[in-house]
């Protein structure tokens, strides 16, 4: 954890993105751009593709169309570099029940930034007010504590781009405020944040992406007619 500005931050953008899950088009023709210090808030009902878009941005899901760029260079050319400069927090907490919190966070920290020292882990945990859980095994954590441990990885291995998929699930109001503060701090240092949420998370000056603007209505009547014509 340092307070220096990110020197590897650059404009992160997507052009004409589309995503197909199963046989359904989740979203299509989606453009976004994110400059250092900016944030995007993803809003929309369940199934509108917020998680899918975040997985596309994280490189976990290949877009059916369109491309992502980082500082003008295609992300697909070097996905590992993209993994190094972005952190993804998904629905799962990725916490091993038999490892202590120190081992859980330290492993990812050393994998991502080659650090993993106890001091780094402790500082990251302290930011979320759970420094006392350092030697507690993962299986004894409550859902909210697991989420906080998960989020502390963002600080234990700093990276300019944070992709947060409903990060405030299971968190109490006070911790949501802590998360908001950390995001503001991250942006002040030139970091970028994409966040999806159902609850209220204050992101002053964030761009809002309404996911239902990009959904493609399924033409069921047309499909039925086509099937009838075939049979």
């Amino acid at each position: 954890m340092t307070d220096q500005a990110f020197d590897d931050a650059a404009e992160f953008a997507g052009r004409g993105l589309a995503c197909i899950r199963g046989e359904r088009i989740v979203f299509a023709d989606l453009d976004f751009s994110l400059a250092p210090g900016e944030a995007i808030l993803l809003l929309g009902p369940n199934g509108s593709g917020k998680s899918s878009l975040l997985r596309v941005m994280a490189g976990l899901l290949r877009p059916a169309a369109g491309a992502l760029t980082w500082g003008g260079a295609p992300v697909a050319e070097d996905p590992e570099a993209h993994g190094g400069r972005s952190r993804y927090i998904g629905h799962h907490d990725a916490i091993k029940p038999v490892l202590t919190v120190r081992e859980n966070v330290g492993f990812w920290s050393s994998l991502w930034s080659g650090d993993g020292s106890t001091a780094t882990v402790q500082r990251a945990l302290a930011a979320f007010g759970i420094a006392h859980l350092l030697d507690v095994p993962g299986r004894w954590l409550s859902a909210g504590q697991k989420r906080r441990v998960n989020l502390s990885r963002l600080l234990a291995a700093p990276a300019p781009l944070w992709l947060l998929d409903e990060p405030t699930t299971a968190l109490d109001r006070a911790t949501v405020a802590v998360v908001e503060g950390l995001i503001a701090e991250h942006r002040a240092r030139g970091g970028m944040v994409v966040l999806s949420t159902h609850t209220d998370v204050a992101l002053p000056g964030a761009k809002v992406l309404q996911m239902d603007d990009f959904t493609v209505p399924m033409d069921w009547a047309g499909l039925d007619a086509a099937e009838e014509a075939l049979s």
Binding site: A58, G59, L60, L61, R62, P79, E80, A81, H82, G83, G84, S86, Y88, G90, H91, H92, D93, A94, I95, K96, V98, L99, E103, F107, W108, S110, L111, W112, G114, G116
Partner: protein
């Protein structure tokens, strides 16, 4: 890259040590199955001696397969695999780390148990050294090939059965040359060629399998 490899080996070994049951289960299965053979084929020393190399290798194949379906399963379920596939550490290196840890916790105990069981099967003492050597070269290949299968069946129902159908046929070359090496040693024939071929399998598997496993894992998290 080396640091990522070390970190994941250390983590998986720690997990195996804390959960504990996998290594013990594999070795127990190995010992029990081998012990069944004298009951099945009768206690005639000549017959047991003749089939000892084959019995040890076949049971080792089956035993090493037992723990394979858990190789990536827990990481897949708790979201760790999502994070691993994203880098920055190359996924192939992480796979190699996981396979190394898997071999250390399952292949190595088999290797240590094999000479003891060879005595039980009345194997000629001339074969012991080569048996251990052949296991040392052959069992890592089994872990590497098994990892590809384990990655392919991720998310499938009844993955364990499917896994054995996928992986067992690919184990046959290792079985053929592993048994042949031990048989040759028992008959006091040269074993260099068989061991070199086993070594060749190991290098080919070490080059190809992590890459294939990584591709299968990327598909699984999509």
């Amino acid at each position: 890259m080396i640091a990522g490899f070390g970190a994941i080996v250390a983590r998986d070994l720690r997990l195996a040590l804390r959960q504990g049951s996998d290594s013990l289960m594999v070795v127990t299965f190995f010992v029990l199955t081998v012990v069944l053979f004298p009951f099945g084929v009768g206690p005639e020393a000549g017959i047991l001696e003749r089939i000892s190399a084959g019995v040890l290798w076949v049971t080792a194949l089956l035993a090493s397969m037992l723990s394979l379906d858990r190789l990536f399963q827990t990481d897949y379920e708790d979201g760790s695999l999502d994070l691993m596939t994203r880098g920055p550490a190359p996924l192939g290196v992480l796979v190699l780390g996981k396979v190394t840890a898997h071999w250390l916790t399952t292949g190595l105990p088999l290797l240590l148990a094999a000479p003891v069981l060879a005595v039980l099967l009345n194997m000629n003492a001339a074969g012991f050294g080569v048996l251990v050597l052949a296991f040392l070269i052959g069992t890592p290949t089994l872990s590497l090939i098994g990892a590809v299968g384990a990655a392919l069946v991720l998310g499938a129902r009844r993955g364990g059965v499917l896994l054995s159908l996928l992986v067992l046929p690919l184990y046959i070359p290792v079985l053929v040359f592993g048994v042949s090496a031990v048989d040759a040693a028992v008959m006091d024939l040269p074993v260099r060629a068989q061991l070199l071929i086993l070594g060749g399998f190991l290098f080919a598997a070490a080059a190809l399998c992590p890459w294939a496993t990584a591709a299968a894992l990327r598909q699984a998290v999509e």
